[in-house]
């Protein structure tokens, strides 16, 4: 934490972390130069040379892309240039990944202050023609149904009762009770993976080793996801209280809130809440005379989506490049500094106090359709009123849409992604599905990060899928081959297709590549990177056929045969003929692999949940629809059917 914090300070004060600064730092700390270069070049916040005074970062990802249209960043650039008469050396404009302002898309930041509007409006903020808006937390925080405390004075009630419980034996029973309550409540990880919280707390408590840590993952950054932002702004005390309770249960001594740097307003809210907690004796030594000591430190992330993956996050906290670790071991036993670490998402922590205050039964009763509890959802895309809502878990996609004033412009709903950019797109026909872990999985998608993106009729779904794949390519850390190379090649091939020149056999090739990436990537990012486009192929075959080419595989892999001639210069590699056996083997790989991905459910995906969902039912429904529509579509459902056949053999 110390090294990256120091680099962040340098960047903030000097607008860059130059070679000279790194050489000085290398001597001062005895850290090799290559390590410092590795950090500076990995995290997007750092620059080697200072840039212009006005730094403008314009989001290029799906929600902003939907509202701003293609080429939005270019339009902002042109507008700024015109505004200042030609090129504007005072302003640097950069296209960046999702900044978590999908509810006010298209969004940008100017010197880290969030702004939004048309290209002209953003340009006006950028050039200084229009004063920047304030960036303070809401003066009067909104009330949310997961806050058990009607007045600020009553905060930390659950914690206070636990700490004042009495002797050691009573305290131990109290710890058992907390875990039992969380289990009974059915609280699951809300970062996306949905891992049962009580089980995680229990495992971390049981894990031997000191010093244990509690880490709050406040690095949500998947396109469409911004629910934690509101929780951090309005309910930071609940997060802090739950972290302290968690520490008391598992026996941790230190806590870290890992916050994405784009959340400046939320950072202030968290800092104030930490100060308040400290002033009330809830943080520090010997809390409320219980003998238990614990403190929380706020760590500002130097950026990038992958940091939300739990082990990448831990690497950053250890001053390394944010590259996910091979799991197992898991953070519960080998977390921060290889010690047991309790890590939960913001929303998961924030639910703990009310569950302890009102009981597991109360929490379970809040859900609908057999689901337990309440859920924060970030709603964006083609919707009348985008934003964050807190609803019963199990609310349907249509009910949520009604709650948010329906589809924007009164259009028909065409598709939706129920759990963030990495969740499979589903057709509007599935609008009655419950927003719940099991129901969405069954429908062929996932609850994921709790971000529902609605897509109206008339949208180019292939282009949206391509946008998301591009996002994953941009955010790949580069550690493992399938993700680093596979995501790049996929983007290149999809872009060829969008330019009207799909390579022959593109769809089966993407399916095969996607299967290899799912099966062999280290972390969830690589595992789901192609899912957005693959879900369009599976669930909207008519859309895909028009842009990506036919999905039928005639014999073996025609694409390979063609490119083989192109690469004839590499003949030395093999003298032998690609025998029929080889082709059969390839086909076996193409059909077996997806079956495996679909058949087995994830045991323990990454914290930010990028789960690969089998979409058997989805592709069947879609294939039926396609059958009715056109001849072109008829040709294209061959591949999903082939996969289905393969699956049904399992």
């Amino acid at each position: 934490m110390e090294l990256l914090t120091r680099l962040m300070e340098l960047q903030e004060h000097h607008g860059a972390v130059t070679d000279e600064m790194l050489r000085a730092l290398s001597k001062e700390r005895g850290v090799p130069l290559y390590r410092l270069e590795g950090l500076r070049s990995f995290y997007p916040v750092f620059r080697a040379q200072p840039g212009p005074k006005r730094q403008v970062k314009v989001c290029r990802d799906i929600c902003c892309h939907m509202q701003g249209g293609a080429g939005f960043v270019e339009r902002v650039r042109r507008a700024v240039g015109r505004d200042a008469g030609g090129r504007n050396p005072r302003v640097q404009i950069e296209a960046v990944s999702c900044i978590g302002r999908c509810d006010s898309a298209p969004a940008a930041t100017v010197n880290d202050i969030p702004v939004h509007g048309t290209a002209q409006e953003i340009a006006a903020f950028a050039s200084g023609a229009k004063p920047l808006p304030g960036n303070e937390p809401a003066a009067a925080p909104r009330r949310w149904p997961t806050d058990p405390y009607p007045a600020p004075a009553e905060r930390y009630g659950a914690l206070t009762r636990l700490l004042r419980g009495g002797d050691a034996a009573t305290a131990e029973r109290g710890r058992d009770q907390v875990i039992a309550t969380l289990k009974a409540a059915g609280l699951r990880g809300m970062g996306g993976a949905g891992f049962p919280a009580g089980t995680k707390w229990e495992a971390t408590r049981a894990a031997p080793g000191a010093v244990k840590s509690v880490v709050c993952n406040a690095d949500e950054s998947e396109p469409g996801t911004f629910k934690d932002r509101l929780i951090l702004e309005d309910l930071p005390h609940l997060v802090i209280e739950a972290m302290i309770i968690g520490a008391w249960v598992v026996g941790a001594e230190q806590g870290v809130i890992y916050l994405r740097h784009e959340y400046g307003r939320e950072r202030k809210a968290v800092e104030r809440a930490l100060a308040e907690a400290r002033a009330r004796g809830m943080l520090g030594k010997n809390l409320l005379g219980s003998g238990f000591s614990f403190d929380v430190r706020l760590f500002i992330s130097p950026g990038s989506y992958i940091m939300g993956e739990e082990t990448a996050l831990l690497e950053a906290l250890e001053d390394k490049r944010g590259e996910p670790r091979n799991k197992p071991p898991f953070p519960t036993t080998h977390g921060l500094n290889a010690r047991p670490t309790l890590m939960n998402n913001v929303e998961t922590f924030a639910a703990v106090p009310i569950i302890l205050e009102r009981g597991a039964d109360w929490w379970a009763a809040q859900g609908l359709r057999g689901c337990k509890g309440l859920k924060f959802l970030a709603v964006s895309g083609d919707v009348g009123k985008p934003g964050v809502v807190c609803v019963p878990l199990g609310t349907s996609v249509q009910e949520l849409l009604d709650l948010c004033d329906g589809v924007a412009g009164g259009k028909a709903l065409y598709a939706f992604a129920p759990g963030g950019a990495s969740s499979n797109f589903l057709p509007a026909a599935k609008r009655d599905v419950a927003l719940d872990f099991a129901a969405l999985q069954q429908a062929g998608s996932m609850l994921g990060s709790g971000a529902v993106i609605y897509v109206a009729a008339g949208r180019d779904l292939v282009e949206l899928g391509a946008n998301v794949v591009r996002f994953f390519r941009n955010e790949s850390c580069g550690k493992c081959v399938p993700c680093r190379v596979g995501s790049e090649k996929a983007v290149e091939m999809i872009e060829e297709a969008l330019r009207g020149q799909p390579r022959p056999g593109l769809i089966p090739l993407l399916q095969e590549l996607g299967s290899t990436m799912t099966q062999t990537s280290i972390c969830g990012l690589g595992q789901v990177a192609l899912q957005p486009i693959l879900s369009v192929i599976a669930n909207f075959p008519a859309d895909a056929a028009g842009r990506l080419g036919p999905s039928r595989v005639k014999t073996g892999a025609p694409a390979r045969k063609q490119t083989a001639t192109k690469h004839a210069a590499r003949k030395r590699m093999a003298k032998g003929q690609p025998a029929k056996k080889q082709i059969a083997k390839r086909r076996a790989a193409a059909t077996h692999a997806p079956r495996r991905a679909a058949a087995k459910q994830p045991a323990r995906p990454m914290a930010k949940a990028r789960r690969v969902a089998g979409s058997r039912a989805a592709s069947r429904g879609a294939a039926q629809r396609a059958k009715k529509t056109s001849r072109a579509a008829r040709r294209t459902h061959a591949a999903p059917r082939a996969i289905r056949r393969a699956r049904s053999r399992s």
Binding site: G478, P482, V485, T516, Q519, T520, M573, A589
Partner: protein
């Protein structure tokens, strides 16, 4: 006196194997005479599991990298199913799509591990866009008097980094940038010849491809400096 390590028994490709607890699947397989292909791993180095060539089926949702995954009691490991081989083949093709047409190591010693793997899979080409000669191509570095660097032939296996920093403690090589743009770098991304490299040669000794080679082999830098 340390306790004797606990022994565990598992099945690899139908063979029962007993190994001390903590042994990786790759190591256990090797002891049983089963070879699992690798590019990033080398028994002299700490395993990192980044090339994913050693993936095996342990009955989980996704495959596991044998070089880093420890054996578990009663585990059933399949190292060579059609499915596993299909994925290895795909990974090899991905790497080949960015690989230069000429490998100095292959020409000089025939020990280019990527090309040998490709030969084993009888891969004649790749279905993916050619990454050589693109704006994203990574270029060469001939600044060192001893070692030729062909960044385009680098598969980011991390072997040179571990050799330089962990075997030799020279602390010169690391990774710069990220994602598809990531590559190996010396000090603050200096040309190798201007870095603190002492030309010990460990990096080119462990390199599995044509990325780090002896200049004497290549003529890559000859007449160019």
């Amino acid at each position: 006196m340390a306790d004797a390590p606990r022994l565990i028994t598992l099945t690899i490709d139908g063979k029962r194997v007993t190994v001390p607890q903590g042994t990786t699947i790759w190591e256990a397989a090797r002891r049983a005479g089963i070879e699992i292909p690798v590019l990033c791993h080398n028994p002299r180095l700490r395993p990192v599991g980044v090339c994913r060539m050693c993936v095996v089926d342990v009955g989980e949702r996704v495959l596991a990298a044998a070089c880093v995954r420890q054996c578990a009691p009663d585990q059933k490991v399949v190292t060579r199913s059609a499915q596993v081989e299909g994925h290895r083949r795909m990974l090899t093709q991905l790497l080949l799509s960015d690989y230069p047409r000429e490998s100095v190591r292959d020409r000089a010693t025939g020990e280019d591990e990527l090309l040998n793997l490709a030969r084993g899979y009888r891969i004649r080409g790749t279905p993916f866009p050619d990454g050589t000669g693109q704006p994203t191509a990574r270029g060469t570095d001939t600044s060192s008097p001893v070692i030729a660097v062909d960044h385009q032939a680098c598969i980011l296996c991390d072997r040179c980094i571990r050799a330089c920093d962990e075997l030799q403690n020279n602390d010169v090589i690391g990774r710069t940038s990220r994602g598809y743009g990531a590559r190996i770098a010396f000090d603050l991304n200096a040309p190798m010849g201007e870095s603190t490299c002492v030309s010990c040669g460990e990096c080119m000794a462990v390199c599995p491809t044509g990325a780090l080679t002896n200049k004497a082999w290549s003529g890559l830098g000859a007449g160019k400096a």
